[in-house]
């Protein structure tokens, strides 16, 4: 067997649930795996439902022809961003690096296999979108039978190009960072810059294809996807292969993906060892002089340890603090550009007063701040070091309290800054601003405590790579996806209720609800700590 395939097969086997179910006698572990599988099935089902609903909407309004492009764009965007967040942990700085590199594999083979492993692991997400949209498209467009196998086959290649682009970006970031003494910090800052740039690029592209004269939002959506397909060619190739049964477009998508894969890993392979050496090595200054030390309470000491853990890992920092950075940028942006102008841009100049969005400000900020709670992954991140906390004379309760305290340290200042900026820019009265801040704190407390419930209930310590629990862990998925969907709904609800109710009363009611949910989640964490 080819060494590359052998390595890929082993990488997949080494993290497969099937292997654990087959060979582990640990009933708790087996139960956890079954629980995780059920959790993921629910999340996949939600994604499928969302895609089917989107296709039904397209079908009802007679624009089902846009479904293939939309499918390609959704998969590509998801593949690109998820890969950009994961590249650092999967391609570089992974735990078994020494073992793999001491075996007769070329650097390009190891890097290529790590990429393919990442691709296979994210395939269920991409295929959930693709299959759901294929069913919706088939239902309304009645395409020839040959389109279905073609759709499925090409869907396997769709994530390839964006994933390769993101992996290459990750490689460039790692390559540049490897030249600095504080590799971790440089890598994190560069990743933030790239991600924010990519987010902005998305809006710029959308803006190019927006036509102010267009009245119908659905027609606009159809034009947008068509326009995007012209900019992002693989989406166009996929759509043409499906709608026109064009073999040349199908071959183009497959061929370019394969070519890019070969080219990217030929380049990555050349500097792979050099980058990993820089990332895994730590300069030993050996010039420490004993200075005054600080005594901290147990909970503060754990919170401080969590801070150090976050700062020590690029993957954790990028994923854990991305929401906070985006919230701060949103705040700064509104302060500089103006609340009204931003609302007009985002809503494409829809004819309504931006003041109706005011009661939704805390939830708009929370959409970013609550995107990720460090408490959802920090229990699992203890990994092999869990024995340290277990062997110390401290209760689990204190450990979880420390982890929650750190998340509050991280989220509350960013929430306060962003809320204040938005309120100042939107000319919100002082009392309302104070109430929004109060609601913001309650939401942060809820996010922290609920994240901790997910983190403790789905704690996984036997990971090979920290990305498995930061980005792909059951705890994070179960925390993140429902939280995001509910918050989007709450933004709309606040706007609707805000038109009928007093804003202060509405905010107070929401604060009460969020506070109660936070208290209930906290009580659940304390109950879990006693188990």
């Amino acid at each position: 067997m080819n060494n590359g395939w052998l390595l890929l097969r082993t990488l997949l086997l080494s993290t497969s649930w099937r292997n654990i179910l087959r060979f582990s006698g640990d009933k708790k572990k087996r139960r956890r795996i079954i629980g995780n599988a059920v959790g993921f099935a629910v999340v996949y089902a939600m994604l499928v439902a969302l895609c089917v609903a989107m296709c039904v909407g397209y079908g009802k309004f007679g624009i089902i022809g846009a479904a293939p492009v939309m499918c390609a764009l959704m998969i590509s965007a998801m593949a690109f961003f998820l890969t950009l967040f994961k590249t650092n942990g999967y391609l570089f700085h992974f735990r078994e690096y020494d073992m793999l590199m001491s075996l007769p594999f070329s650097s390009a083979t190891v890097a290529g296999c790590k990429f393919l492993y990442m691709y296979v692991k994210s395939l269920p997400w991409h295929m959930s979108i693709s299959l759901a949209m294929m069913i919706g498209y088939g239902w309304f467009a009645h395409p020839p039978v040959a389109v279905y196998p073609l759709w499925i086959a090409l869907s396997l290649f769709l994530p390839g190009i964006p994933m390769l682009a993101a992996a290459f970006l990750g490689f460039l970031i790692a390559r540049i960072s490897a030249g600095f003494k504080r590799t971790n910090i440089v890598q994190t800052v560069l990743t933030f810059i790239f991600v924010i740039f990519c987010f902005s690029l998305r809006f710029i592209i959308e803006d190019i294809f927006r036509n102010d004269k267009v009245q119908s939002t659905l027609l606009l959506a159809s034009q947008l996807t068509g326009g995007a397909a012209k900019v992002y060619l693989p989406a166009g190739w996929f759509a043409d292969a499906i709608t026109k049964t064009s073999v040349s477009d199908a071959l183009l998508l497959v061929g370019v993906t394969m070519l890019l894969f070969t080219a990217v890993f030929a380049i990555v392979g050349r500097s792979y060892r050099n980058i990993n050496s820089a990332l895994k090595s730590h300069a030993a200054a050996k010039n420490y002089r004993m200075t005054a030390q600080r005594k901290r309470s147990v909970i503060h000491a754990i919170a401080h340890k969590e801070f150090r853990r976050l700062m020590g890992s690029t993957a954790y920092m990028v994923n854990g603090a991305m929401g906070e950075v985006l919230a701060a940028l949103l705040g700064l942006g509104t302060l500089i550009i103006g609340f009204d102008r931003i609302v007009k841009t985002v809503t494409n100049g829809a004819p309504f007063q931006s003041s109706i969005l005011q009661p939704a400000i805390p939830f708009i900020v929370y959409f970013f701040i609550g995107m990720m709670s460090t408490t959802a992954c920090s229990p699992s991140l203890e990994g092999k070091n869990y024995w340290i906390l277990q062997s110390l004379p401290i209760e689990k309760k204190a450990v979880y309290q420390g982890k929650m305290l750190f998340n509050m340290w991280l989220t509350v200042p960013f929430m306060a800054f962003s809320t204040l900026c938005l309120c100042v820019s939107a000319r919100v009265p002082a009392l309302n601003t104070a109430l929004y801040l109060l609601l913001g704190v309650a939401l942060c407390a809820f996010s922290t405590a609920w994240g901790c419930v997910c983190g403790v209930r789905h704690m996984r310590l036997d990971w090979e790579n920290e990305i498995e629990v930061i980005k792909q862990g059951a705890a994070v998925a179960i925390y993140l996806l429902p939280n995001m969907f509910v918050v989007m709904g709450l933004v709309v609800l606040m706007v609707v209720l805000g038109m009928r109710m007093d804003h202060r009363l509405l905010t107070l009611i929401m604060t009460l609800i969020a506070g109660t949910l936070a208290a209930l989640s906290y009580a659940r964490v304390m109950a879990l700590a006693k188990k």
Binding site: M1, F23, D26, S102, S277, S281
Partner: protein, 237 residues
């Protein structure tokens, strides 16, 4: 078999972790690499096995450059790290088969070798369990078996006796002697000077990244114990 010439390694900040190290290990040698914690032993070993990148100096294995022909070097080398990070969700036998596949070992040969070494280290019964359920010592034994499975020409070990029970330590020493008689070169780091003294025919002492003493055991000890020779060399620096 192993030639290290003027190897240096600096990390960020320009400070050298290893400075101008040169040594050679011939087939049939058991070469002990000793020094304090943080002296540069692991940094040297990781460069030898192709894990750590380096810019200064040259390392060759069996005539091949580690820098320019890493695969050719790794085909004849086996490495046992001080803290084996093996795939925890593979069973012991799955992991050993993976390594045997990488080195293209035939079914009959691998079966015989796995059986031989697993019996010697008394972990045959545990081969069907997930590595995650192994103790540190058992993981170390699995790593040792995986290193021996392809009969390497150069065996590199980083603190191999840490975590092994007395019987396994004895077994490993016996295997090292047997391999050495067959012409295998062995290069290993250790803190246990007694073991080094009884096992090695050549020794190098490294301090603050520089070799401060090197030679055959007789040349280095001159009738004293290795411990005395080590302390004297250490004190003179």
């Amino acid at each position: 078999m192993l030639e290290i010439r003027n190897y240096s390694k600096s990390y960020g900040g320009g400070k050298k972790a290893v400075d101008d190290v040169s040594l050679s290990v011939m087939g049939g040698d058991i070469f002990g690499f000793i020094g304090h914690n943080g002296a540069g032993k692991s940094t040297t070993i990781r460069a030898v096995v192709g894990v750590l990148d380096f810019t200064e100096g040259e390392i060759t294995i069996d005539g091949h450059s580690v820098k320019h022909e890493p695969i050719a070097c790794k085909r004849v080398t086996a490495y046992i790290p001080d803290n084996p990070d093996l795939y925890e969700n593979l069973t012991g036998i799955q992991y050993l088969n993976f390594i045997a596949d990488v080195f293209g070992i035939g079914a009959a040969e691998r079966e015989a070798r796995i059986k031989k070494y697993a019996d010697l280290f008394e972990i045959t019964d545990a081969l069907g369990d997930l590595i995650g359920s192994y103790s540190h010592g058992m993981k170390q034994k699995a790593a040792i078996i995986s290193a021996l499975i392809h009969e390497p020409k150069l065996l590199v070990l980083d603190e191999p006796f840490v975590g092994l029970d007395p019987k396994a330590t004895f077994t490993l020493k016996e295997i090292m002697r047997e391999m050495c008689q067959k012409g295998t070169a062995i290069f290993f780091s250790t803190h246990v000077l007694d073991v080094a003294e009884k096992l090695c025919n050549k020794v190098a002492i490294i301090k603050h990244g520089r070799i401060i003493a090197s030679g055959t055991m007789e040349e280095l000890t001159e009738g004293h114990s290795l411990e005395e020779a080590f302390l004297e060399a250490d004190g003179n620096e």
